[in-house]
Homo-oligomer: 139 residues x 4
Amino acid sequence: VLFTESRLSLAVRPNDFDSLGHVNNAVAAEYLEAGRWDWLARQGLAGGRQVIAVVSRCEIDYLSEISSPSVEVHTVLDSPTESEFDEDALTYRARFRQRIHVPDRPSPAVDALITVGFLNAEQRSLVSLQDYLAAAVPR
Amino acid sequence: VLFTESRLSLAVRPNDFDSLGHVNNAVAAEYLEAGRWDWLARQGLAGGRQVIAVVSRCEIDYLSEISSPSVEVHTVLDSPTESEFDEDALTYRARFRQRIHVPDRPSPAVDALITVGFLNAEQRSLVSLQDYLAAAVPR
Amino acid sequence: VLFTESRLSLAVRPNDFDSLGHVNNAVAAEYLEAGRWDWLARQGLAGGRQVIAVVSRCEIDYLSEISSPSVEVHTVLDSPTESEFDEDALTYRARFRQRIHVPDRPSPAVDALITVGFLNAEQRSLVSLQDYLAAAVPR
Amino acid sequence: VLFTESRLSLAVRPNDFDSLGHVNNAVAAEYLEAGRWDWLARQGLAGGRQVIAVVSRCEIDYLSEISSPSVEVHTVLDSPTESEFDEDALTYRARFRQRIHVPDRPSPAVDALITVGFLNAEQRSLVSLQDYLAAAVPR
């Protein structure tokens, strides 16, 4: 199956912390991107160079501070769903649901919805998720 | 008046670019934070150490790629409005409307709504915008 | 014993790459800092808040490009040596030898000598390594 | 003349600060890279895509903390000197002397020597400074 959840453990680096002593909100967006790359890798794919995925929208809720030495990023494809994806219609957007967890806490510290679009890298024109997957290289 | 728009010009640094050759989406969140600090400075204030502002939610639309050598970050306070702020009721959230512009383009490359809350730094408890402004130090 | 080598495995994040498609030289300095924190943790210590370690000099040789999904940072205390440290004389500098390795390559990609000094955080005055260790908190 | 000093003013961004409340040592390396790009621009050039400059060694002395809202990066070509460069012999290394200044202080906060080499981007083989300049595109 294509749509397996990814759970990526990441070390928090000293300069992820800002002057308030917690992980900066912009750094959380870096963790989320690492999670999406890991999700792709778990589907057996790596991003190609001809067709690229770019973030078109993010909605991120910061629910609690992160000051732990590591985090775990959970990533699932939220849309299209597996049934939607089976249809013939091309899909021009994919949306990921991502959560950042810290050790020993059941509820996530960050809850995010990240929408990506797909571009032909040379022509800078929009293409479909199907084009993206076709151009992705097996790992 | 408290609520003046800030327009901050920022140099784009070489390592703001990612392997796709444009400014990474997480870096745009850094630009937005610089814009909010500048907004505060333009109100004649700097963040204090007792009461701190933390991002509780961001919604960011990435409308076009950024590959220019500089950007301009526009920041206004979206909520509370000036009339809302005059009321006696305490305000526990502030929301900023921020746009990132690149040179010679009328429409923004990034359009964002950033909600911040306020914390007593020692007690880690929620306080109001009014508490935050009272604790902020004049620049 | 105080002076154990640390070997820290770190995930390379997507935005560690710059527009040339390899890990940016400034990001390697972040990896090194993560390595030094891990070294400290392996000695059973965490940095305190009263006495802090600050980098006073770095010499970094970039021997080969990093484009792997992970790296391993090796950190040893180069100076003072264990015998020097046993003496009564206070030590005002510590120097770490650090190497960044990529998977499946015997020789390091980065070879670095990092010198740190110690500061009393409040007074901003130089103190000794002995003061630093005394103020460090057990993990 | 080719070898003009660059003086680049850069805004310090909120997340340049680390948990100690000063600009992190790795971030100073980002400032230096921005300075070298500006130096190149002042010579009327921009980096090309066929021949790229990569940092092979850095020596950075951190002389005082940076906590100002802006810095100025001074960059000169230290080697080859102008007379050396006139010779017929090809040059495989260029070394920059760079200093980071903070407002209202005569002495620099950071003093650095950065050595760069030149690579043919496709073949990943060493080429000369002369090759690099020939491949650089006029701005």
